[in-house]
Symmetry: D2
């Protein structure tokens, strides 16, 4: 079904949709391991060549996917064990390990739309140090070296009249961070991945992906500094889910028919554009997973610092 647009932000799902045969694609390496104690399955998809990137529909780079079924369940400590896994995966993608760095964390999305509020909620709970260190030095934290951590919630274009990329670019130019971490809610293809999966990639964020169209590219190419993107799928695109439903139903039918049905479906359902599907307890879930993310970032940036040594 080469001409049907699979709508997913997860490299894991992009790979699945290519199918078994192609996963042995040249230029794509895959590593998998399972952390039993935390019940977290980690899949690293490394896209090494431009050809592979084209086949996968994702840029060259590393995509780490953590599947953590417990993440969706209530937990008093916001699943600190998952935050710790996430911190160590994040740390591997962060450049400049062991050195003092200035890190800007950007929370994309719309705080007012529950399913799109992961980024804004996550930046609410970060440990921010830049203003203190610039005023009083690392000594304010009893350290010799410390990361300068800052955060930005750029808001959405409908409310600002500006592209997210314009705002981020301006702030990056003015404050000159060494690296960006960008947090965003994603769209998954499969309902069973919702709120259970964290994707970390060193490719930044590309135009046209994600829940809303709230930005264009946030990448090393466009911003001049490395960009790590962190995302959790909180919604499934409505058109995708209907397509998938159709495909499942029809998969016993003849192949020729499938193509006919799907192209008909695309004409029949223009009204599904800009609709998305989400769960009923989305408020509690997004609040919870945003803590898992922010705690993981706090831990990772703390671990960096521990490698630098204290005073």
């Amino acid at each position: 079904m080469a001409n049907f647009q699979v709508r997913t932000d997860l490299a894991l799902e992009a790979r699945e949709s290519i199918g078994e045969a192609e996963s042995a694609l040249h230029g794509v390496r895959v590593e998998e391991y399972y952390k039993e104690e935390q019940d977290v399955r980690v899949t690293k998809v490394m896209i090494d060549t431009k050809n592979a990137a084209k086949a996968m529909g994702k840029p060259v780079g590393i995509y780490v996917t953590m599947e953590a079924p417990a993440m969706v369940e209530p937990d008093e400590a916001y699943h600190r064990e998952i935050s710790e896994c996430f911190a160590s995966e994040l740390l591997e993608l962060l450049p400049g390990k062991g050195e003092e760095q200035s890190v800007l964390i950007v929370g994309l999305g719309n705080r007012e739309v529950t399913a799109d509020s992961l980024g804004p909620q996550a930046v609410d709970n970060l440990f921010i140090t830049r203003h203190i260190v610039r005023e009083y030095g690392a000594a304010a934290y009893n350290r010799e070296k410390i990361n300068l951590i800052s955060a930005l919630e750029p808001g959405v274009m409908a409310k600002t009249g500006m592209e997210t990329a314009e705002i981020v670019k301006g702030v990056v130019r003015e404050t000159e961070p060494d690296v960006l971490i960008v947090i965003d809610a994603l769209a998954a293809r499969s309902i069973r991945r919702l709120n259970r999966t964290i994707q970390i990639t060193n490719t930044g964020i590309q135009p046209g992906s994600g829940v809303g169209n709230h930005r264009n590219a946030l990448t090393q190419e466009s911003l001049g500094v490395p960009v790590i993107a962190v995302g959790i799928p909180t919604v499934v695109d409505a058109a995708t889910i209907v397509s998938d439903a159709l495909e499942k139903l029809l998969e016993e039918e003849k192949e020729a028919d499938v193509v006919k049905y799907v192209s008909r479906q695309q004409k029949n359902f223009p009204e599904l554009n800009n609709m998305y599907m989400t769960g009923k307890d989305i408020d509690a879930v997004v609040k919870r997973v945003s803590y898992t993310v922010s705690e993981g970032i706090n831990l990772a940036l703390q671990m960096c610092m521990d490698e630098m040594g204290t005073a």
Copy 2:
């Protein structure tokens, strides 16, 4: 397709799904008119008999549906012309016209979930008088008579541990209002009705309808006072939309096949339970329509008072 559960809170859609023939059902009267200036189409479905109620899947009573396409568009004055239509329709269903009344307005739903926040947002903008009138009399408003208006946001069961009906019942017993107006976000069957339709009914709210399961019955029978329910569809149930997509695709196929497909679909998609579909600009839309509703209620209760005469 008698054995397929149509999931809609709109009497208008329930009637449509029964089909043309049955709409001439005994015990169901329908009135329609179009207010050209405001571009509002009003349909009144009056279910008069228990048999008709059973056929429609809705209790005996009056269901007014206002279709107002402009409601979804931005407007500086929150579509006052629609608020005025709504106020006059609401006023017709309110008992005790021309008399001073105590009116409790209940905003159902979850403020934290955008699509379910219509009720809580609408009660934020009501003109509340009860506490002032009880302390200082109608004279505080330079009137001889005035309605005592109060409002309640009971919250959702996951956060309170109590049924909404328990909370409302307790407050009704203690404060003894003459009539309740209950505001809630609804589920529609059709995407094109989302946020464009206001339903007003004198049957109150029945268990199992609406976006969440956040209450059981709020009816005259359960509470002892008349209950007017006001709702706007803000979501479409995910399973319904998939079913509808299938039906449309398959409607050219043989009838026998349809039944087979649909029953298969119901087995295939248990994961669609508790999922709903909503638009991407839902935050701005719900904020806007909640004003249209609250202004309409303010106007209706003001108009009541004007009929009573001022001092």
Copy 3:
């Protein structure tokens, strides 16, 4: 200065304002101890007689004040050590220890006013069980016995048109809890107590105290069940702070002059009515202390259950 109204919700401050001599008052017992590890000073004021109650301006009952200077500082775990102290003090005042109980927790105050949002914020983070236990039994939590925990945010009179006491009374009648815990922001006399002090009392809440006039009595007498009130001072009354400033300045002056100044002050500053004073970081502080309170309540109700034994 007997005829000057001291405005404080803290029994500790009421006692201080009476002065050294009177603290040896008949009918008032005081116990103090210091928990060194947690740096928490606990003062229990037990008012045993009506005469003592009159002298203190507080009803007969037990008032526990925890002074915890660390509470105002950031802490990753929301000062779990203080939550634990608080839990054990709360547990001592809770009736029916060791038995399964139904506990309703009421968050008073206005979520929209930062300094008054302690109650609403604290109930956001409680572990709610009542609806689950009623549906599935204690077995849902793998226990033989479990407390039924519910929560209510009644809102403020300006928005509901109802006294908080009316709403709470109605809900208590309908849901029949065994005990109430009521959480509210308090007014302190002294700036140095702001956000550093937790008061727990078994006397419930009396009309006219607190930040706003958002309720009348919530007591065992008015509601028919024991009422434990938990409060943290988040504001200082503006008139009180000006009075105190004057007193300090004038304390070297002749006693007769003081009375003259203060009565003049009361005429001069009617505009200070309904004004309060609060700190600039009040948003972060209230968020933090609300977690300390909710975690403490969660722990206390969990400890109750542990005394009951698990399945």
Copy 4:
């Protein structure tokens, strides 16, 4: 009392504190008029020389103060009559009248602290056009010419780790607006000015003024484009109010004593630093006045456009 620091953001109050004699200062011109229908008193203070600026403690420029007592009262239309006054005063200070302009509106302050949320709340209700015009041209609004309106909520330093000025500077460089309008909550000296006064100035915002220390200079000098600052006082500084109370009490006393008292007061009350005083209904009031401001800006920028003519 030359050496006592008057803490106010209002030029009107700075002038009052200088006293009658000095108001005939060289280099300061004052115009006053009263709009009877709207009950709005407008005072324009024009500081023309550096000497005058030094004496006033405010930079050279124009300060328009609108005193509108009705603003603090509830009104269904958010005091449109005051918005209209404000729009016409704002329009006089805006450069480039009659030409198509790109206007960036910045909402300073902390959304989470009620008294400091004027800026963020006001930008919520602006009519944003920049992204639409850039995509579809003025034709999208059926016009030949139209202003490009964008908005930014930079947040507070404790949450971003960046100075507000850094963020604004970056965004200005990147998006190149022709003019900035900056909205902020102010501190007044007098309680009777709270929420009743709008100040508009073409001098931008200077470091150290306002409720919090959430920025340094936002001025034409620092940003390279004209900056109009709009503010409403929502708080009174706690130390100021105590000082004022003392002054009033002591003004009948001998002048020498006053100096003694006040210097003593400054030693006695270090704890008043970072405290502010505000009213109990601050949530409703700030919501209301933020609408008055945003509607005024919407009107002003619309009026600009009307002068340009429609297609």
